[in-house]
């Protein structure tokens, strides 16, 4: 049975924990709003890019001169997995769910006898993957200094990936991130970046015949890398919003749990205080009667 003083100290400590989690929740809520705005601002560009690329790709896809980014290397040997996670913890199952999806994909590939390389973005995913597949990690992008994900970050990652692709170091590239559904739901998603894939039916509504300058092939060669960059950028932004959403709900839970714990401890504290008073009274009465 803990003493009254112990209980009092515990209550105080849980109270200060609750203050911290409450504050973190509010900070996450503010950051979430900003992250969502950023994701929404990027949408017109990404949508437009997708439409144009789909249009272009349909024209060129089947010709032998199609760029390698579109048609692939013709092999399916080495896979590059880009695993985008957060830099900070305390955001519930956010990082684990991405890593779990990436691991499932990885073991499927390894079982098929393919080679796997992993590029991590964000510290937390790297820490988790390093435990069992450190030999597959080929690189890491540190985002801890980055306050706000900008297009420049995505474009730097893309340059690195494209350089490796040009050097023939992998054949297929897939990115893993959390798609932001709403504050409580984030969906771990995988998306193939290279060779570029397009959702069929995207272009259906907008199949105008354009004139191109320079010619279709050259434009496509110019735009495909940008298409990859914008997809990575979108993924990073979605991930950022998801991270804040996940942290917000995790911290909301923590705050509620702390509240429940305080209630329980307070009841226990009051009971033992009453018990102590009762004991004292009995002792006094018993002492008086003995006289």
């Amino acid at each position: 049975m803990p003493s009254l003083k112990d209980l009092k100290l515990r209550i105080e400590s849980v109270k200060s924990t609750r203050k911290i989690t409450k504050a973190m929740q509010m900070v996450a809520a503010a950051k979430l709003r900003r992250a969502q705005e950023a994701a929404e601002n990027a949408r017109p560009y990404a949508d437009q890019m997708q439409v144009v690329l789909t249009n272009l790709a349909q024209g060129v896809a089947n010709s032998p001169s199609a760029p390698k980014l579109l048609s692939g290397t013709g092999k399916d040997e080495t896979h590059l997995l880009v695993v985008a996670t957060s830099e900070r913890g305390l955001c519930g199952g956010f990082n684990s769910s991405i890593v779990r999806l990436a691991r499932a994909h990885m073991s499927r590939l390894l079982a098929d006898g393919k080679k796997v390389k992993i590029l991590t973005v964000g510290k937390k995913g790297r820490e988790q993957l390093r435990r069992d597949s450190s030999n597959l990690l080929i690189g890491h992008v540190d985002m801890s200094e980055v306050k706000r994900v900008g297009y420049a970050n995505a474009s730097a990652i893309t340059k690195d990936i494209l350089r490796q692709y040009a050097a023939g170091e992998f054949d297929v590239c897939t990115i893993f991130y959390n798609r932001f559904e709403n504050v409580v739901t984030q969906v771990p998603t995988q998306k193939q970046l290279i060779p570029a894939t397009f959702e069929a039916g995207d272009a259906g509504a907008d199949s105008t015949h354009y004139e191109y300058e320079p010619d279709e092939g050259a434009i496509l060669a110019d735009l495909l890398p940008r298409g990859v960059a914008i997809q990575i950028f979108t993924a990073l932004l979605e991930n950022g919003a998801s991270e804040q959403g996940a942290r917000m709900s995790a911290m909301d839970n923590a705050t509620r749990n702390a509240g429940e714990m305080i209630d329980r401890l307070t009841i226990q504290y009051n009971r033992s205080r009453q018990a102590a008073i009762t004991t004292e009274l009995i002792e006094i009465i018993a002492g008086a009667e003995a006289l």
């Binding site: 601002n41 560009y45 990404a46 437009q48 004139e211 300058e213 434009i219 735009l223």
Partner: protein
């Protein structure tokens, strides 16, 4: 016939402009061009340069670093890699672009050398408009 058309200027990070204009001048990869309403569908990549949108007597100018423009009869959308108002163009930005262009030229293969040196010239041109 419509006298104005929709003009959208978006960069990956935000939408810079969305308005009705009379004409838009675009630094196309193979030369500047001006789009009027009801232009034939046209798609071009951009050089670093100045996009200017004219609406009545009002002209708004933006500096773009590259990207592409889609022209349809109903309007023009410019998808710029990076875009700022002309007045906001800074020496640092031009310096950075010049640096990038120079490195690209140094690393360019024989067949892309022309384009790379053109880019260096375009950036130098841009410096004059600060």
């Amino acid at each position: 016939m419509a006298d104005t058309m929709q003009f959208d200027l978006v960069s990956p990070e935000r939408k810079l402009a969305s308005l009705q204009v009379d004409q838009v001048q675009i630094p196309g990869m193979e030369g500047d061009l001006t789009a009027l309403p009801n232009h034939a569908p046209f798609l071009t990549t951009l050089r670093p340069g100045i996009v200017s949108a004219k609406s009545g007597s009002e002209v708004t100018e933006y500096v773009v670093t590259g990207g592409f423009a889609e022209i349809t009869p109903a309007g023009v959308s410019v998808l710029a890699e990076e875009a700022v108002l002309r007045g906001d163009l800074s020496t640092e930005m031009v310096d950075r672009l010049a640096g990038e262009a120079d490195t690209a030229l140094a690393a360019a293969a024989e067949e892309t050398r022309m384009a790379a040196s053109q880019r260096v010239r375009d950036v130098a041109e841009l410096r004059k408009s600060i």
